[in-house]
């Protein structure tokens, strides 16, 4: 059973556009929702994360929108740049066991 679902599998946007990456989850006890990015040939690295005490988290051009009722969260990348081209993974965990479950990833390509 896939606990964290991610869509789309791949996404292409033009430079300057906003890229929107989506995730949904099933386990209502999840309380921590990070996004990781991975550039080709490199290891994943934390980009931004949110806890459900708020429904929005911003860090520069990156924003997480969180909808607890629908069990969905999304990553918005404003003013996308070619350097943002990477694979983005959403993930979820509950505070009791530190097991971080990842989605299957969205491969983002930003064209100039």
């Amino acid at each position: 059973q896939q606990q964290v679902r991610q869509s789309p599998q791949s996404l292409t946007v033009w430079e300057g556009e906003t890229a929107i990456l989506n995730c949904s989850y099933e386990d209502s006890t999840f309380d921590y929702f990070p996004w990781y990015h991975q550039f080709p040939g490199e290891s994943p690295a934390l980009l931004i994360a949110i806890r459900p005490v708020s429904n929005k988290k911003e860090d520069g051009r990156f924003t997480i929108f969180f909808n607890k009722r629908e069990k969905k969260f999304s990553l918005h990348i404003a003013d996308s740049q070619p350097g943002d081209s990477a694979t983005y993974f959403c993930a979820a965990s509950r505070g009791s066991n530190a097991k971080l479950t990842f989605g299957k990833g969205t491969k983002l390509s930003v064209k100039s």
């Binding site: 991610q6 599998q9 921590y32 990070p34 990781y36 490199e42 290891s43 994943p44 690295a45 934390l46 994360a49 993974f89 993930a91 965990s93 505070g95 009791s96 066991n97 530190a98 097991k99 971080l100 479950t101 990842f102 989605g103 299957k104 990833g105």
Partner: protein, 114 residues
């Protein structure tokens, strides 16, 4: 400088051989992880370790075992490797204890089982 080190970077083994993947971290993190990454499947958790000799299965533990005898060192063992264990293996560590705070990943080991 915070670092997770994985050895080796590339490894080729024959089916049925034993495989040892090693991971070290210099941050005194309590929690360490082993994930495998396959195209289209994302990162799948194999094992998590909360501290020395305190290990727990992840989502895909079958065919793997782990060892953690020192806080800074976490090993993944494949007894009698199978071809479907060909993958990229990532080790990670976290300071969050029971909360999955920032995971710091190693550079990965690309394992090929022939």
């Amino acid at each position: 400088d915070m670092k997770v080190t994985q050895m080796p970077r590339y490894l080729i083994k024959r089916m049925g051989e034993n495989v040892l993947l090693e991971c070290g971290q210099d941050m005194s993190h309590e929690t360490m992880y082993w994930y495998r990454q396959d195209p289209g499947l994302g990162l799948q958790l194999i094992y998590i370790s909360y501290d020395v000799d305190s290990n727990s299965e992840g989502d895909i533990p079958k065919g793997y075992r782990v060892s953690r005898k020192k806080r800074e060192h976490f090993s993944l063992i494949l007894d009698s490797a199978k071809t479907n264990q060909t993958s990229v293996y990532f080790c990670a560590s976290s300071s969050g204890g029971l909360s999955a705070e920032t995971l710091y990943f190693g550079s990965g080991t690309r394992l090929t089982v022939l």
